[in-house]
Symmetry: C2
Subunit: 275 residues, 2 copies
């Protein structure tokens, strides 16, 4: 999916919500545990309930890997299900990968060729040759960690260099020499508040993937105020708040209600921006 | 395995070699492709042939993930095989993971609880809370990326901050407030030459995991000269040079010969250091 198509979906659905499929076997409703593949059964119901109100799904690989082979099966089935039934959804493999060139190539092959996923999150620490192999697929996106939502983001990402440039700024600046805003997005945590203004100074046109609204305490209004651009430029992720909204057998309805609430707020924020 | 045990193994085997199980289905001998699980069959033979000459194995997860579910099965079987048959081998899951706290927890659970692996490589970009969940397992190690072997290591890792401290130095310094040298190692590429001296100034006692000897051009002698300490303090990894030493049906013998060559050099380097 290209940038214009993503924007069209946002306008049509009046939403820039990304639903995080961080599905934890310890947190899903108990009645699912008797099913053959409880994780996939859960995801399927969540997807069917929320697809009208979001434009993207983001499974975090850790939740699947932690179950070993079974988890990978559930992950692959989830990706296939979305692609087949909701081809207008942008899929993000939240993997935070990054390795030397020939190894990153294998990750890229796995996510883009084998699974046909739209995008993968990548960690920048190892530099250009760890990111570039993900960029040889012209239809696919790299979503590079820039300024994350967690407390530890302050440990290194805010470190100023000799010229006063902070590490996250250097990452965003350098990465723009590797790919355009048609193939790269940046992760910026919703908890970073006014720092979105600084990011928009150096990356005015890029889409930003924004985790940290909800359980982590970030504010959707603040993100929109400081981060939205003329093409929206935001994919705001919500995981726990939506997928665990209700623990009953009727859990999917709870998730749907929560997604609708977020979508309605997003509609207002888009209207405020004239979108 | 604790630090003293690792050192005892190094002294007993006269080797600080780590064999990288970067097993690529496109590079293994053709006759294996008819087997039920070619990746595991290859690994099994390589392990049996090299176990006497190395102290650690390091499968890089990318190579297994790129095959999807089948790859994960081969990975898990490989780990089980090493643990059962060669319990004195230190196992490194080269995964370069790192995510917000509650997600890193899941990766830690996967590698340490579910698979019983000794250590996992972790990327530092997201800071303390992305690393700490790996440290709650007292028998397990975090191997933190500090100064990697690839060209892109220059993009961010060498950036000097306002006080002249380079990012990799800050990572090593800060990480020492999170865990001791009994639970943490650092990745330092063999291609970094004299920078090992700088690293030993701030981390004199830590073990370093050193990739980049062989195909990537690093020198074992140089690494030993600038990086070895009184407990050796080095695990030098070789992947392609050993596992693809021979492409015939008799490939394992070729790998064995190559491992012996490296082990003999390592024996000399240990003797030079009085170990």
């Amino acid at each position: 999916m290209n940038k214009q198509q993503l924007f069209e979906n946002i306008k049509r659905k009046r939403s820039f919500l990304c639903v995080g499929l961080d599905t934890d076997i310890k947190k899903i409703p108990e009645h699912l545990l008797t099913q053959e593949d409880p994780i996939f059964s859960f995801n399927k119901e969540i997807i069917d309930a929320t697809a009208d109100y979001c434009v993207a799904y983001k499974p975090n690989l850790a939740f699947y890997e932690s179950l070993g082979v079974k988890g990978w099966i559930a992950f692959e089935k989830t990706i296939e299900y979305i692609k087949k039934n909701y081809p207008d959804q942008f899929i993000i493999a939240d993997a935070k990968r990054g390795d030397i060139g020939n190894t990153s190539e294998l990750y890229a092959r796995s996510f883009f060729e084998h699974l046909g996923i739209d995008s993968v999150t990548v960690a920048p620490y190892m530099g250009e040759d760890s990111v570039k192999p993900f960029l040889i697929y012209p239809q696919s996106w790299v979503i590079l960690l820039a300024l994350t939502s967690n407390k530890g983001s302050h440990d290194f990402q805010l470190t100023k260099d000799e010229n006063g440039e902070r590490l996250f700024e250097k990452v965003i600046r350098k990465a723009q020499t590797w790919a355009s805003d048609e193939q790269m997005m940046f992760v910026v945590g919703a908890t970073q508040g006014k720092l979105f203004e600084d990011i928009r100074k150096i990356a005015p046109d890029h889409f930003l993937l924004v985790p940290g609204v909800g359980a982590q305490g970030g504010s959707l209004e603040e993100v929109a105020e400081y981060g939205m651009n003329d093409m929206c430029g935001l994919l705001v992720n919500s995981s726990r708040q939506i997928i665990y909204a209700d623990k009953s057998e009727n859990f999917a309805q709870g998730s749907k209600n929560e997604a609708i609430k977020v979508q309605q707020k997003m509609n207002e924020l888009l209207l405020n921006k004239g979108i």
